[in-house]
């Protein structure tokens, strides 16, 4: 059977999982295969079902239907501790009355492991995570970053196949979050375990993931490598969710011919023959033309005239250090463009914009699907 062979090659395999509370459907018939050693990020806004899915994989929630395989074994009814998973929580969830050492060894002591083996594993984990100096401290005496390291260590000592992270960095401040993010990536490269990571932070998702599953309303919208998701979003929702500052959407209509299609943007036509349509050129279709801020060039002077160039007015400028975000008025629509921070613009200035059509995305106005 195909499912049996599938679950052998993949580390975690989820088949038609659904979860509902009465009439409320949190997960809708969701399937997912995660190969050995992959770092998968479940990304989505709160309430999209990503934590529910993770809890189902961990065995902390019983799915209403469907099967979960870990390492080829059907663990749908298995106890969390017997699934070969370790979990790291947003609130760290360290046992407050135990020292760091006892926090790390709790799971091993429960399993009745020999003392010297426990010691060895705690030592190794605390070396990897650089928490040796704090072993005798209580969680109360640690900073947020140190606490989260201990929480990761608790999964590490148990020598699990799969690491589950439930928004582990959301309680930390921005600087620590960036530091620990790198450490988690380093840890993944060193250990090579399968990791499933839930977050609503797209930067975390982009930087950490081998593949990202963008979720909405209990189903996966797109499951792809981060750069694919960024550059070729499958639908308007994914396009709008990924990327900060977010993609510009301009309502337009496909014109021209199948050979040389165009879109009409605020009364002017834009040649989109460079755009690779998935399935033929839908001439005459109402669409949304999506362009990321970095794929919009602002032109001045002589370059500002010619074909496929649109006149616009600078509305305001947001300097962000590495670059600046310029908001423009393009006819009745507002568009943002990313420019070098060395370039200066003044509000009210008349300029021209140019779209990089090969990098753009075009979505059906009705269904929101990529065309």
């Amino acid at each position: 059977m195909s499912t049996a062979t599938k679950s052998k090659t993949s580390s975690v395999s989820i088949q038609n999982i659904a979860q509902s509370y009465g009439a409320l459907q949190v997960l809708k018939e969701l399937s997912l295969d995660i190969p050995e050693g992959e770092f998968l990020v479940l990304l989505g806004p709160s309430g999209c079902g990503k934590s529910t899915l993770l809890n189902c994989i961990a065995g902390l929630l019983e799915p209403t239907q469907g099967k979960i395989f870990i390492k080829g074994k059907n663990v749908t009814w298995e106890e969390p501790s017997k699934r070969g998973i370790g979990m790291v929580f947003q609130s760290y969830a360290l046992y407050p009355q135990m020292t760091v050492e006892r926090n790390l060894s709790f799971g091993l002591r429960v399993a009745g492991m020999a003392k010297d083996e426990i010691e060895k594993r705690v030592k190794r984990a605390s070396e990897i995570l650089q928490i040796e100096p704090y072993l005798q401290r209580k969680p109360m005496q640690l900073s947020g970053g140190q606490r989260q390291r201990v929480a990761i260590g608790r999964a590490l000592v148990r020598d699990v196949d799969v690491f589950l992270f439930d928004e582990p960095l959301s309680n930390l401040d921005a600087k620590l979050r960036a530091e620990l993010r790198v450490e988690i990536k380093r840890l993944h490269q060193r250990l090579g375990n399968t990791m499933i990571y839930v977050t609503h932070d797209q930067i975390e998702a982009m930087t950490l993931a081998d593949r990202i599953a963008v979720m909405k309303g209990g189903s996966i919208q797109q499951l792809d490598a981060p750069l694919t998701i960024y550059s070729k979003p499958k639908n308007r929702y994914v396009a709008g969710f990924i990327g900060s500052p977010s993609m510009n959407f301009i309502k337009a209509k496909i014109g021209g011919t199948a050979k040389s299609p165009t879109v009409e943007v605020s009364g002017q036509t834009l040649d989109i023959s460079q755009y690779a349509f998935i399935d033929g050129t839908p001439v005459g279709r109402e669409v949304e033309f999506g362009a990321r801020p970095e794929h919009i060039n602002i032109l001045r002077g002589a370059a500002a005239k010619g074909k496929n160039v649109f006149s616009a007015t600078i509305e305001l400028v947001e300097p962000m250090g590495s670059d600046s975000l310029v908001w423009l008025e393009l006819g009745s629509q507002k568009v943002s463009a990313r420019v070098e921070s060395s370039e200066t613009f003044t509000p009210g200035e008349k300029v021209a914009v140019q779209f990089r059509v090969d990098q753009a995305s075009i979505f059906d106005l009705q269904s929101g699907d990529r065309l």
């Binding site: 961990a58 902390l60 106890e79 979990m87 929580f89 609130s91 407050p96 799971g107």
Partner: protein, 315 residues
């Protein structure tokens, strides 16, 4: 630059003799006097002999002790040397109810036994129930909890008669274990509520983490939750110790004559109309009965407030 701008702005900080403070302190002192006066009178009366009590100055303590005459149950007049501790001694070992003249010590011990068993048993049961209801939901757990809470609103008196029948059929009626049983049962609703709400206020991720670590029902309770439940435990202990120690109703109904707790005995001493009314002995007995809860409050007041506050934050 004018010097005015350099002066501190706003009104000067207040001092202790501000009139608002004087009003507050006067009120507090008067209130304390009002509430402490009965205690003061009970204490000084318990150290007086009957002659001094008959003098009628209830606010003034007695400083010198002489001879004292009393009447024994047979009607003979007995003269004895009085000491400051005489009424206390009589209360402990000699005071009579009916024909029994062993003082209140046996009943004091009864109360100690009842409390010593009821408190840990009721707390242990409620702790487990509250923990299960908050962390291990089962099909009808919410309904079960509702029934339990509704139970706490039903007056005890309604359940007295069924309870008598029940314990009689269980064969424990009129024993100390019967009182312990009844206290455990009637303590359940409020204690379960207390523990359930406390455990519900702990982060649920802690429970999940323990499950991932492989801990089961009892291990999570004893090794993870119980060490965190010290504040609420203090509240429960104080609530139960004072409640059970002060209980009269269950003692008089379920204990049976030889097993009467302290409170029932105290009542019997007060209401016995035989011979002279020994106010000093009665006051001494009252102080002995009241000493246990009083001591508990003094020793644990700080933790009690902390526990109440800890439970009140989330519920």
């Amino acid at each position: 630059m004018s010097t005015e701008a350099l002066d501190p702005q706003g009104p000067k900080p207040r001092h202790w003799y501000e009139w608002e403070r004087i009003v507050v302190y006067t009120f507090l002192i008067l209130t304390s006097v009002y509430f402490l006066m009965p205690l003061y009178i009970v204490i000084i009366t318990s150290f007086k002999d009957l002659d001094h009590i008959r003098d009628g100055n209830i606010f003034w303590p007695q400083f010198s002790y002489g001879e004292i005459t009393t009447t024994d149950p047979a009607g003979n007049t007995v003269t004895a040397m009085a000491h400051w501790w005489s009424p206390w001694y009589r209360a402990m070992f000699e005071v009579c109810t009916g024909l029994e003249c062993r003082g209140i010590t046996p009943n004091f011990l009864n109360s100690v036994i009842i409390t010593a068993w009821s408190v840990p048993i009721s707390i242990a049961v409620a702790l487990t129930t509250g923990y299960a209801l908050s962390n291990w939901p089962f099909k009808f757990s919410e309904a079960f909890f509702t029934v339990l809470i509704v139970g706490s609103f039903i007056p005890f008196q309604v359940m007295l008669y069924p309870m008598v029948l029940l314990t009689k059929n269980m064969g424990i009626y009129s024993t100390l274990s019967c009182v312990v049983f009844v206290h455990t049962v009637f303590g359940l609703p409020i204690l379960t509520l207390l523990f359930r709400n406390y455990f519900a206020s702990l982060p649920v991720e802690l429970f999940k983490a323990a499950r991932v670590d492989g801990a089961g029902f009892w291990r999570i309770l004893f090794q993870v939750f119980l060490p965190m439940a010290i504040p609420i435990m203090t509240v429960a202990v104080i609530l139960q110790v004072t409640g059970i120690w002060n209980d009269f109703l269950f003692g008089v109904v379920f204990a049976g004559l030889p097993n009467y707790p302290m409170t029932v005995k105290l009542n019997n001493i007060f209401t016995s109309t035989f011979g002279i009314k020994e106010y000093n002995v009665e006051m001494a007995a009252t102080m002995i009965a009241g000493s246990v809860p009083l001591l508990i409050y003094f020793l644990s007041g700080k933790y009690f407030i902390r526990g109440i506050a800890a439970g009140a934050v989330k519920g």
